[in-house]
């Protein structure tokens, strides 16, 4: 009720202001950027987080949480960083040079490590840490509880080069997104065996190598404290301390209003945005984020196994209206997204939606006619006496998802498709409904980023154990039932697989981008998942805090976060 009122209020005033905001900051970050000499030395940053993870190893299956990355990015090394043009380059704090060579069917990556770099116990960072991390993440077969990240399975070996500060990473097959690897690097001591990997960073952070050092964890008050590292070899951190404080979303906003937490990430939600924006001495920083919202269609449900019906839905849904409704409450506007892999702000982004991106109810009606769904008297189309009725799952109690689904329901009603909205518990949405394929439509968020194929390959890939079937409705039961894993849309083709493979194996960025866009075009043709809009990243922060906020696709440099000098 309250959020509806707020939403309406900002809808009236937001118009022209919105356009300026997006135009000014579409490609950039919104972090109140300041030079290091404009910042005061010292100060404590109270950073609000909304979960208190148990597992702080970001490569562990339990540790793949946004909060773990937020905290550990300040503590663990990463060999690559994005350069000014968006291309990855070695981060000189850890790696002085990187050389990539094609070698027969594979490739060899040679990393020249910074000999100054060392772990918090004094041991230098060497090729052994790279080998241990690569071997741990290569697969879960030998007891490591890993996330299953793309790329490590292509590494044949990591060997010592000229000295211990040269790591030679050999790949069986080319891997163009190699800078996504070792993000972050784990110390050999905790990557070396499954047990240390599992328990080393469980409710503890034993070893670090960053501008900040781990100063303690208060499990009773749910805080994690970092302090400026005394033996950091790069530019020293401006802040004395960062205290990560855990609270529920609502409580974080209240604490921000009250002068408690100084910065925290906001959900894309009108009510929270309005409250946080009203804080004295605080503001909300916004930039295009590395994720997007979409509607996934179940390619194996009886009605949607026909690609013409899926395309009719694409045409029946007004993506622009859904985008505006979702974002006007947070004072933001965006165009519907035209790509499943690449996001706006990344090099090579192309709108590949083609004929399926714009609403066209006449064409949708034609497609449904062709597919045999005839318009009747009742408004809902029928085929062989069966109405064209779809189940749209939403997480129960999540108001934005509910209103989004209601809008889609109204839009599809116009083309004679009945949509029944089915709220289900958030904890069982995926496990009980989406993964087993017991749904027709569902919306959720996909994370993209600098490494588009690595990030989402399993979602578009053919089922394990064979690349047959392309959204056929005939796969009903039997021993040979395909294992779709994360491809919850249950649509695939050998062509899509090949294009993604080509992108991963491409010799240069240009070829990789071309292949990624080809894969995306094929996804649009196959009617696999309708992207809606790229979500803004919202961060509430004190106005005098610099170099923190919504960084877009660039990681934050924790050493540069600080308070502006007074006056």
């Amino acid at each position: 009720m309250l959020s509806a009122v707020l939403l309406a209020a900002s809808a009236c005033t937001g118009g022209t202001q919105n356009e300026q905001r997006t135009a000014a900051s579409a490609e950039a970050a919104d972090i109140n950027a300041a030079d290091r000499d404009e910042l005061a030395d010292g100060g404590t940053l109270e950073w609000g987080i909304n979960e208190f993870p148990a597992q702080w190893n970001p490569h562990h299956a339990d540790g793949n949480l946004a909060t773990v990355h937020t905290v550990m990015d300040a503590l663990l090394p990463t060999p690559f960083e994005p350069g000014p043009d968006g291309d990855a380059r070695p981060d000189p704090d850890y790696v002085l040079g990187a050389d990539l060579r094609r070698d027969g069917g594979g490739q060899v990556l040679t990393l020249e490590l910074n000999p100054e770099a060392h772990w918090s116990d004094g041991t230098p960072i060497t090729w052994k840490d790279y080998r241990a991390t690569a071997e741990a993440l290569a697969g879960g077969a030998d007891g490591y509880k890993v996330r299953g990240e793309v790329g490590y399975d292509r590494i044949a070996s990591v060997e010592r080069g000229a000295d211990r500060f040269e790591a030679v990473v050999s790949f069986d097959e080319p891997f163009s997104e190699y800078p996504s690897l070792f993000d972050p690097l784990l110390p050999a001591r905790y990557a070396g065996d499954p047990d240390s990997f599992d328990t080393g960073y469980l409710e503890d952070v034993p070893l670090t190598a960053g501008p900040f050092a781990f100063a303690g964890m208060d499990r009773k008050r749910r805080t994690v404290t970092l302090e400026r590292s005394a033996d950091w070899w790069g530019d020293p951190a401006k802040l004395d301390e960062i205290v990560f404080r855990t609270m529920d979303g609502e409580a974080l906003t209240t604490s921000f209003l009250e002068g408690g937490v100084d910065a925290f990430e906001l959900p894309v939600d009108a009510a929270a945005f309005e409250r946080a924006s009203s804080a004295d001495g605080g503001e909300v920083r916004t930039a295009l984020g590395p994720d997007y919202r979409h509607i996934t269609l179940n390619g194996e449900s009886p009605a949607l196994s026909d690609v013409r019906v899926r395309h009719a839905l694409f045409l029946g849904i007004d993506r622009e209206a859904l985008t505006d409704a979702a974002l006007e409450g947070v004072d933001w506007s965006a165009e519907p997204l035209g790509n499943h892999f690449l996001l706006e702000g990344l090099p090579g982004y192309t709108d590949n939606s083609g004929e399926w991106g714009e609403r066209d109810t006449d064409r949708a009606a034609e497609l449904l006619d062709e597919a045999g769904w005839k318009a009747g008297d009742g408004g809902t189309r029928t085929k062989d006496g069966e109405p064209l009725a779809l189940r749209y799952l939403v997480p129960r109690g999540h108001a934005p998802a509910q209103s989004e689904a209601e809008m889609v329901q109204a839009m599809l009603e116009e083309i004679g498709v009945a949509v029944e909205i089915e709220p289900v518990g958030g904890d069982e949405l995926f496990s009980r409904y989406v993964l087993p394929g017991d749904y027709d439509l569902v919306s959720f968020v996909n994370t993209g980023g600098d490494f588009p194929v690595s990030a989402s390959l399993p979602q578009w890939a053919s089922p394990a154990g064979g690349a047959e079937g392309s959204g056929g409705g005939e796969g009903s039961g039997g021993a040979g039932e395909p294992d779709w894993r994360s491809n919850v849309g249950r649509i695939s083709s050998p062509e899509i697989d090949a294009a993604m493979e080509e992108a991963l194996a491409a010799p240069d960025a240009e070829a990789a981008t071309a292949a990624v866009n080809e894969a995306d075009r094929l996804l649009w043709e196959a009617g696999h998942t309708l992207p809606l809009y790229q979500r803004p990243q919202l961060m509430a922060a004190r106005t005098d805090l610099a170099n923190i906020g919504a960084p877009g696709f660039r990681p934050l440099d924790y050493a540069d976060i600080g308070y502006l000098k007074k006056g």
């Binding site: 993870p53 148990a54 597992q55 299956a61 339990d62 793949n64 949480l65 879960g140 509880k145 890993v146 996330r147 299953g148 990240e149 793309v150 599992d198 328990t199 469980l202 409710e203 208060d218 499990r219 009773k220 008050r221 749910r222 404080r245 855990t246 609270m247 529920d248 609502e250 409580a251 209240t254 604490s255 209003l257 009250e258 002068g259 408690g260 958030g426 904890d427 069982e428 949405l429 995926f430 496990s431 009980r432 989406v434 993964l435 996909n446 994370t447 990030a455 989402s456 390959l457 399993p458 979602q459 294992d483 894993r485 994360s486």
Partner: protein, 322 residues
């Protein structure tokens, strides 16, 4: 053994049986409906389903395994004090102990303030009558009609407004005090959550106590006491109040469960890390072990409160002792 001790022992045995039954039911219910696999599916990219099942099975959390089987593993652990592990590998017993202190402090403060305040208000309104009685009745009705979570949110909103107009934090509206904060600060952080718990409880108690008190005021023995020359106030305090505290004490035991439910929301709203907050998080995460542990803790609190109420009744009411 004295009759009173025998009575208490019987009640204690009953309580322990009830505790075991309630805990088992809670576990089976959690095991039947909660599913922790969603935690992994929300990750990008999600780990393969077989790996998820394997990892959950290690912590006795695999929803594919039959609840009865998981119950046996869990129950044998509980008997040795081991409540299992959360989906992400935390030791549940340790986590519960860590949070129990925060919750017990809040529950105790809320129960005491609520019960004493309610009894006092009820006794006062009942002996006073008239316009004050009507006002107290209206206030109590309002508090009873509003869900406890709304009471908490209203208190918080008022505190934020107060702090804003004062230009500082007079009444902390959210969060725990820092480690080593001065006692004043710790106390200030307790005020709002305690009130949020105490107000609905006080409303219930004041109505109950008022009804009892109004009866007692008209009773013969109070009239006799007054006829013997006792002042009205003294007659009520010495005779009427005592005889209606016994039923109130029994009633108190039954309100503990409601108090516990109130604490769940109060902890979430005021950003405090007690077992109530743990329960909400556990349910969101579909974590059977953690949710069941909180239910066990809740059942234990209710049992202990019930036993305490019995003990108070034995002390107050000589008929029970006989």
């Amino acid at each position: 053994m004295s009759p009173a001790a025998g009575y208490l022992l019987r009640r204690l045995l009953g309580g322990v049986c009830l505790l075991a039954a309630a805990s088992s039911c809670a576990y089976l219910l959690c095991a039947a409906v909660l599913d922790p696999r969603g935690n992994y599916q929300a990750m990008s990219p999600p780990p393969p389903p077989e790996a998820v099942s394997r990892m959950l099975a290690e912590n006795n959390l695999d929803p594919e395994a039959p609840p009865a089987e998981r119950y046996l593993v869990w129950a044998s652990g509980v008997l040795t004090g081991d409540l299992g592990r959360t989906w992400d590998g935390r030791d549940v017993s340790e986590e519960l102990l860590l949070r129990a202190g925060a919750s017990l402090r809040l529950l105790a403060a809320g129960a005491v303030v609520g019960a004493v305040g309610g009894v006092a208000a009820g006794a006062w309104a009942g002996s006073r009558g008239g316009r004050w009685d009507t006002a107290a009745a209206a206030g109590a009705a309002l508090l009873l009609a509003v869900p406890p979570v709304v009471v908490a949110l209203v208190l918080q909103t008022l505190a934020i407004a107060l702090n804003r107009s004062a230009g500082g934090v007079l009444l902390p509206a959210v969060g725990e005090p820092d480690a080593g904060a001065p006692p004043g600060d710790v106390l200030a952080h307790m005020i709002l959550p305690t009130l949020a718990l105490a107000l609905p409880l006080a409303a219930v108690f004041s109505r109950y106590q008022r009804a009892l008190m109004a009866d007692e005021v008209r009773s013969d023995y109070v009239r006799t006491a007054r006829a013997k020359g006792l002042r009205r106030g003294r007659a009520l305090r010495a005779h009427a109040l005592r005889s209606c505290l016994a039923p109130t004490a029994a009633y108190f035991a039954y309100t503990t469960a409601a108090l516990f439910t109130g604490a769940v929301f109060a902890e979430k709203v005021f950003g405090r890390y007690g077992v109530g907050e743990m329960l909400i998080d556990a349910i969101e995460a579909g974590d059977t072990n953690a949710a069941a542990a909180v239910c066990v803790f809740g059942a234990l609190c209710v049992t202990v409160a019930g036993f305490a109420a019995d003990a108070v009744r034995v002390a107050l009411d000589p008929r029970v002792r006989a």
